[in-house]
Amino acid sequence: MANQAMPFSRSEMLPPEPPPGSAVGVVGWLRANLFSSIGNSILTILALALIWLVLSHVWPWLAHAVWNADSYAQCRQIIADTWGPDAGGACLAVIRERWKQFMFGFYPIEAYWRPTLAFILMFVALAPILFSALPRKMLWFSLIFPGLAYWLLWGGSIFVPIVIYAGFAAGWLGFHLGARASAAFVAPLLAAVFALVWWFFIASPLINLLPDIGLMPVQSKQFGGFMLSVTIGVTGIAFSLPLGVLLALGRRSDLVFVKAICVGFIEFIRGVPLIALLLVASFLLNIFMPPGTNFDIILRVIIMVTLFSAAYMAEVIRGGLAALPRGQYEGADALGLNFWQATRLVIMPQALKISIPGIVNTFIGLFKDTTLVAIIGLLDPIGLITSIRANAAWNGMVWELYGFVAVLFFVCCFGMSKYSQYLERKLRTDHR
């Protein structure tokens, strides 16, 4: 082969070889990620110094923590006696003393088992929704759970949730009657009418007819603490997603009237601060209600939080819908799937997958926004802190209380974030 320009034909193909040693293993990783250049190395060292600085302050504070004390003054005394007069330390005794309040607010002590049971059952209900490997039959429990949780938390007659559920059956009946019509919007419209008629005109007299068998009723004003945050947060999350899906579909609808309502709703809600909506829920709604109606405050807050998040959710999902190529709609149409089938089986699974980061973002935002209810006087963890700090024994405490609530919320929100990452990985079917 003297001449480079000679015709050439490979007689055998080259086998694959492992990469050189400097690119793999711990050394390879360190070199690639921490010390790839001088600038990168400086940043690595600065970051390590910063981590050291934070830990060197936080660690002793936590290590000196006092769990047994009756007041903030006593805490400081114990820390000074044990670690010297200049030592700082966390007074976690307040968390210990007020633990039950942080969890349940002023819920009756003899009924603590009810929110606890509801909390545990919540995970059973969530499991089949979050993990598709679990048997699909478990979803029936997920459907029953909201009514069951309502009954456990607020008590009262068992027939209240049952009659409310019957409204969904009425809606289902309406949908099936409407599905025979040729226009696609008739079915959901009839479903809504049937369900609303049931809830507004039939449910209440029916409940009065049925016997009052059930648990001791608990007033909404006795709710508080973390339990209140979870109740508002989880309900808001559960309802804002489907509502957001409907709003997003409505905003893209060809039906001018439906579209106008959805656009108006979304833009109005997004333009108003959540605090304003909560204040409306707290003070103004009662003025507009007929005298004598007792529209539960937690229910009002849940409705406002749900509507608020649903508007954001709708925009997130609209982004997912817009990202789908037109070919997906055409592919579904060309197979003869009708609008609702195409939406449910082809469009939404993909649009929701694209929107997962945005959806979870909205969920996390909603969950943290539940602390705003402290402003209208509900005793969520933040509201409780204000009352604890007003107590002479714990006057002046800041870090321990807010830090504890921060950790509680962080655990929940980080969990959601981790789950969303898992879900994104699991649903990645395109480039494997």
Binding site: G327, L337, Q350, T429
Partner: protein, 268 residues
């Protein structure tokens, strides 16, 4: 005449003329059909009758309205004037009629339009299960039958993203066939494929033609047109400019526009 390019008719399996029988039953009838995009007059006075078992290739420069024409046949596009009658049912704005026609008319797209979140098998069973209400097991058997037919049964549990373009297009054909359509529409089925994969898709289409499927294909594969078409239609500026049986069409084009087009796509 110069050789067709890139695929020669002699590359493809020859089809015995007796196997390509056309009945005198009408499958699609388009009468005086017109369509506008806003002010733009895309389709002008289209008249076309397709008999059952007939295989028609529609050719023409880009923007001539050939894709729009076949997309009107299953109402992916709406026409504003004239009539389209598919399988005896006229296309109007009645959604029930549209869904019925769509379930009888299969369509294969340039970009496959498989559903990326479903496996190949699920892609094929989705419409039979939900539109035809076929039991899942039966739908899966049918799907496997057609996947074997397009020669990729072993890919059934993979996702579309894991397949090559040619394989995806064959799945798309199988997916349409699972609905047991009476008419198949092809909208440039090989235009997005690498040259190596065009033949495998065309072979599948030829096999379909041999079984007597009514086919309406928009394609630039003139070799395919010569091998299987009963009729070639040439469109330009939203109008049917010329139609003839393929031999005459290629050897004796009459319209100047047709001659120019053929010399451009075949002349190198």
């Amino acid at each position: 005449m110069s050789e067709p390019h890139p695929l020669d008719a002699s590359d493809l399996e020859p089809v015995h003329p007796d196997r390509l029988k056309v009945s005198d039953q009408v499958a699609i009838q388009i009468i005086e059909m017109n369509k506008w995009y806003g002010q733009f007059h895309v389709l002008r006075d289209i008249n076309l009758t397709v008999n059952r078992g007939e295989r028609i290739v529609i050719a023409g420069p880009s923007g001539s309205g050939k894709s729009t024409l076949i997309r009107c046949v299953n109402r992916l596009e709406e026409h504003q004037k004239g009539k389209i009658i598919v399988d005896g049912t006229e296309l109007t704005s009645d959604l029930k009629n549209i869904d019925k026609i769509r379930s009888e008319v299969g369509m294969v797209f340039q970009h496959f339009n498989l559903f990326p979140h479903l496996t190949i098998l699920e892609n094929c069973t989705l419409a039979p299960i939900w539109v035809r209400k076929v039991p899942k097991k039966e739908a899966e058997e049918t799907a496997m039958h057609f996947l074997r037919k397009v020669k990729i049964p072993e890919q059934a549990n993979k996702y579309p993203g894991q397949l090559s373009g040619g394989q995806q297009q064959r799945v798309a054909i199988a997916r349409s066939l699972c609905m047991k359509p009476r008419i198949m529409l092809f909208d440039e089925p090989t235009s997005a494929l690498d040259p190596e994969m065009i033949k495998e898709v065309l072979d599948t289409m030829i096999e379909l033609a041999e079984e007597g499927m009514t086919m309406l294909c928009v394609t630039h594969e003139m070799g395919f047109a010569q091998a299987v078409a009963n009729r070639v239609i040439f469109m330009d500026q939203g109008q049917i400019v010329e139609q003839n049986e393929p031999r005459e069409f290629f050897n004796n084009p009459r319209n100047e526009r047709t001659k120019l087009f053929l010399s451009q796509i075949l002349g190198h």
